[in-house]
């Protein structure tokens, strides 16, 4: 047995693995593990560095904190329910209905991915706030701040992610299961209950955990529409920025980290179960005619997506208004000089995002390529480590950066630079980009790698001639994912910006806080448009690549 296996192990060069893994591993340790441990450490030490649990006791001194935790939990649960209900219906509308104009649904679902929760919150305020568009036009008293505003903003933000996860599971359900059920006499409703739902269970669980975590740790909409309905993310912000109580901020961060870790772990568990099913492709599924079903799904899709379009549309409208909400004369002044810092913050955001994406994609490519060759003993823990950032809220990581890098060797040039913001964005979104890259690399045939090696090629040649052609689409996806996420993120970078380093997303927040909604909207639209352009460029590149390489 071993004599058969052994030659293969030799043929596959392993000397390159260590080299490939070294730099990404160093990055993960320095910019992810280290800050995270610092937060943990800070939460269990007092001002003099002595070990204590006193910080956790202090959580209950201030009645505001347990109340904020309760608020966070309520919003998390409520958002999860509404997002799951609407997301499931939208995915069904896309994959199990004969609705015309599905491209409209797909198009509308892109908006929340381009607009961070902060922008959705801003649009909601402009639309339904005390001085919002609806109030101005109809005179109805509207007040969106608080629970309902947060619920709507977070639901809109979570929708596309639920639809993507559920759609993937729907696409994996083979048509023959429906044929079998149909031939045995199952009605469409029974087919939904007996065939569709069981195959969706784990996807629904995974999506629910994702939405719950994101809502729990969301800062963008909390700061804009939360109002007096304080949630944990706002409390961390106040402790750190308002009262400079870093220990308390760290303790709250750990409190936030626990449920996030738990839910990401459960989500991964659910995902693993789901992947174990058979995925053998078969006949493409063509939904049967069913007017009632299509009418119902169409109505629900409209209910979910009209608000998305309305909210983002309102931001676009407000950005071209002279002085929101008092003087609604249309003008481009906000774009041509009305923005207090001009296009500086937008340029900085683009630069930071580009840096995060370029460095990130190189590191992640090396990591994924290295893991292909590493022995399981090394690969396993690294795999977990690379996926762990998914469980860490941006604010916790950002706080970790402050606590770690505001003194010590790197504090001089790194702290307060664009590089630290880029690093924080990169490691905040490391997990998803890494998983994308790894999935792409799974398509590289082992035999091709072995062939290059057997012709005498070294690691360099293997990467260039065997791995890269197959991994290229994944690399492009990972690059743009990092770029677009870095462009819109707020929670991770909120503690890292300095007066000299303005970012577009932070500018939106500051201007909103000070009531300059039109200018905030203008910055928000810059971010949305830049994201849309990046998305278009990504699709173009992937398309060209598919035509040229025949492997995408």
């Amino acid at each position: 047995m071993s004599s058969i296996v052994a030659p293969r192990a030799v043929a596959r060069p392993r000397f390159g693995a260590g080299l490939l893994l070294a730099l990404p591993l160093l990055g993960l340790l320095l910019f992810f593990v280290h800050p995270l441990l610092t937060v943990l450490w800070r939460s269990v030490t007092d001002a003099h560095g002595a070990f204590t649990f006193a910080n956790y006791g202090r959580l209950f001194d201030d009645p505001g904190l347990p109340r904020a935790a309760l608020h966070s939990l309520s919003i998390g649960v409520a958002t999860t329910f509404t997002t799951m209900a609407f997301g499931l219906c939208l995915a069904m509308a896309l994959h199990r209905s004969r609705l015309p104009g599905k491209f409209l649904i797909r198009g509308a679902l892109l908006l929340p991915m381009l607009a961070p929760s902060l922008v959705l919150g801003l649009g909601l305020v402009c639309l339904l706030g005390r001085n919002g568009l609806v109030h101005r036009l109809t005179g109805m008293p509207t007040d969106i701040y608080g629970f309902w505003g947060l619920l709507i903003a977070n639901t809109l933000y979570g929708l596309p992610q639920v639809v993507i996860i559920v759609s993937a599971a729907l696409e994996r359900t083979p048509a023959r299961h429906y044929d079998a059920a149909e031939s045995m006499g199952a009605t469409p409703w029974r087919q939904f209950i007996d065939v569709t739902v069981p195959r969706l269970r784990f996807a629904l669980l995974a999506a629910a955990f994702l939405v719950f975590t994101e809502t729990l740790t969301d800062f963008g909409s909390a700061v804009v529409v939360g109002g007096s309905y304080r949630v944990l993310a706002m409390e961390i912000y106040s402790e750190v920025v308002g009262q400079l109580d870093f220990a308390m901020g760290a303790t709250l961060g750990v409190v936030l980290l626990a449920p996030a870790l738990l839910s990401v772990w459960l989500g991964r568990l659910a995902k693993r179960r789901q992947d174990s099913g058979d995925a053998s492709p078969g006949r493409a599924l063509i939904p049967a005619r069913h007017a009632v079903r299509d009418a119902a799904l169409g109505t629900i899709a409209a209910l979910a997506l009209v608000p998305v379009v309305a909210v983002v549309g309102t931001v676009a409208y407000v950005s071209v208004v002279k002085l929101w909400p008092y003087d609604r004369t249309l003008t481009l002044a906000n774009y041509t000089g009305g923005m207090p810092d001009g296009y500086g913050p937008v340029a900085t955001s683009l630069g930071v995002s580009l840096l995060a994406a370029v460095v990130g994609v190189v590191m992640i490519f090396a990591l994924a390529a290295g893991l292909r060759r590493a022995s399981p003993r090394i690969a396993r823990p690294l795999q977990v480590l690379a996926s762990l950032p998914a469980a860490v809220p941006g604010m916790v990581l950002g706080l970790g950066y402050v606590l770690t890098f505001n003194h010590g060797a790197l504090s001089g040039w790194f702290y307060g630079s664009a590089a630290i913001v880029a690093a924080c964005s990169l490691y905040h979104y490391h997990a998803q980009a890494f998983l994308t890259m790894q999935t792409g690399m799974r398509q590289v045939p082992d035999a091709l790698e072995d062939a290059v090696a057997s012709f005498g090629g070294d690691t360099r040649h293997v990467l260039r001639d065997a791995v890269l052609p197959f991994a290229m689409p994944a690399a492009i996806s990972a690059f743009f994912y990092l770029f677009m996420r870095s462009l819109v993120t707020l929670s991770g970078v909120i503690f890292l910006v300095t007066p000299g380093l303005g970012l577009a997303s932070v500018a939106v927040m500051r201007l909103d806080e000070n009531g300059f909604l039109a200018q905030a909207a203008a910055y928000a639209m810059c971010v949305v448009v830049a994201g849309a352009l990046a998305l278009g460029l990504m699709r173009l590149l992937l398309h060209v690549l598919k035509d040229r390489r025949h492997v995408a």
Partner: protein, 333 residues
């Protein structure tokens, strides 16, 4: 139960898949739809099942036109190529599914499920999940599930193609025996001629959306009507009329009238009688030894024919042989 398929036509986006197909299946008949992939046989089965709507034609079951009846009201038991068991239900839950749909009492369901599982020899595996079974076991469960629906017909879509050869042969016999004992009319789609020859009462041989020939396996093998059927079922030596006139003139007597090019003589390898003869016109080019049998390619007046004879025959490669034929069928070209 009597099924009549009447002039069924179907096109997918302009491409004709079925072009006027008709046949019928009588009480307890086992009918095989045989043909190469892409000949439309699976589409035809799906139309019979009600999963695909035909563009034209009728399906009549026991005198009742069911063409417009949705699949779930047709009561046809379906078995697919593979993996059509619900992965999240146990074996017992899969088999009892149709009975649960009909709302039978739990006691009756339990009894019948047990009986069906015993019938396919899987009584001990009731609590397993499909992914814990072998391919052959999964297909047995699929069969039990289809039969548990108490169907008026059984429709099998290449049920054995995904299985290992040994299991395939075994299951072939089991399906046939079960079908006989239940007396349920059955249509099976297959591209495997051996399977069709071994199992069918009637073979409907299809090519490019049309029926080439309908008949018993023996009829199709011994008296193929077209070149396609002769070629597709078994090995065939197809000899043009002028060649036959020179070499085997006796066969011309039974040749249907028509120009030389319209018919060819089909000789099965075992129809050829080969004898060692130094003055013979044939030369053995190669011999494939198969144990009880041997097959030889023989050069014969500028043609090459395949002959079959007992494996013990002393014939060797390069030997000169005389060639005659005992049987043959004229096929249209």
């Amino acid at each position: 139960m009597h099924l009549r398929i009447d002039d069924i036509g179907k096109a997918w986006s302009g491409h004709t898949v079925l072009d006027g197909v008709s046949f019928h299946a009588g009480e307890s008949d086992f009918v095989c739809l045989l043909g190469p992939s892409g000949c439309g046989k699976t589409t035809l089965l799906r139309i019979v099942a009600g999963l695909t709507a035909p563009d034209r034609g009728r399906i009549v079951l026991d005198g009742r036109d069911i063409t417009a009846l949705p699949a779930r009201e047709r009561r046809m038991g379906l078995v697919f190529q593979s993996y059509s068991l619900f992965p999240d239900m146990t074996v017992a839950a899969n088999v009892s599914y149709p009975m649960r749909l009909r709302g039978e009492s739990p006691a009756a369901i339990a009894t019948h499920t047990g009986q069906w599982l015993e019938r396919v020899g899987l009584g001990a595996l009731a609590a397993r999940f499909p992914d814990q079974l072998s391919g052959g076991q999964q297909q047995r469960v699929a069969l039990a599930r289809a039969l548990a629906a108490n169907p008026s017909m059984l429709l099998l879509d290449e049920p054995l193609s995904a299985l290992d050869p040994a299991i395939r042969a075994q299951l072939r016999g089991e399906i046939r025996a079960l079908q006989r004992s239940l007396g349920i009319p059955t249509i099976m789609v297959t591209h495997d001629q051996d399977e069709a020859l071994a199992m069918a009462d009637t073979i409907v041989c299809m090519n490019q959306g049309r029926v080439e020939q309908i008949g018993t396996p023996r009829c199709l093998y011994e008296r193929p009507r077209s070149r396609f059927v002769a070629d597709f079922i078994g090995h065939a030596n197809l000899l043009p009329t002028p060649f036959v006139r020179e070499t085997l003139p006796a066969f011309l007597e039974r040749r249907p009238p028509g120009a030389d090019a319209t018919f060819e003589l089909c000789l099965r390898p075992e129809d050829l009688v080969i004898e060692a003869d130094p003055r013979g016109e044939g030369v053995i080019e190669d011999i494939t030894f198969l144990g009880n049998l041997a097959r030889a390619n023989i050069a014969w007046r500028g043609r090459r024919v395949l002959a079959e004879f007992p494996g013990r025959s002393p014939l060797v490669c390069g030997e000169a042989v005389s060639i005659d034929a005992v049987r043959g069928a004229w096929v249209s070209t």
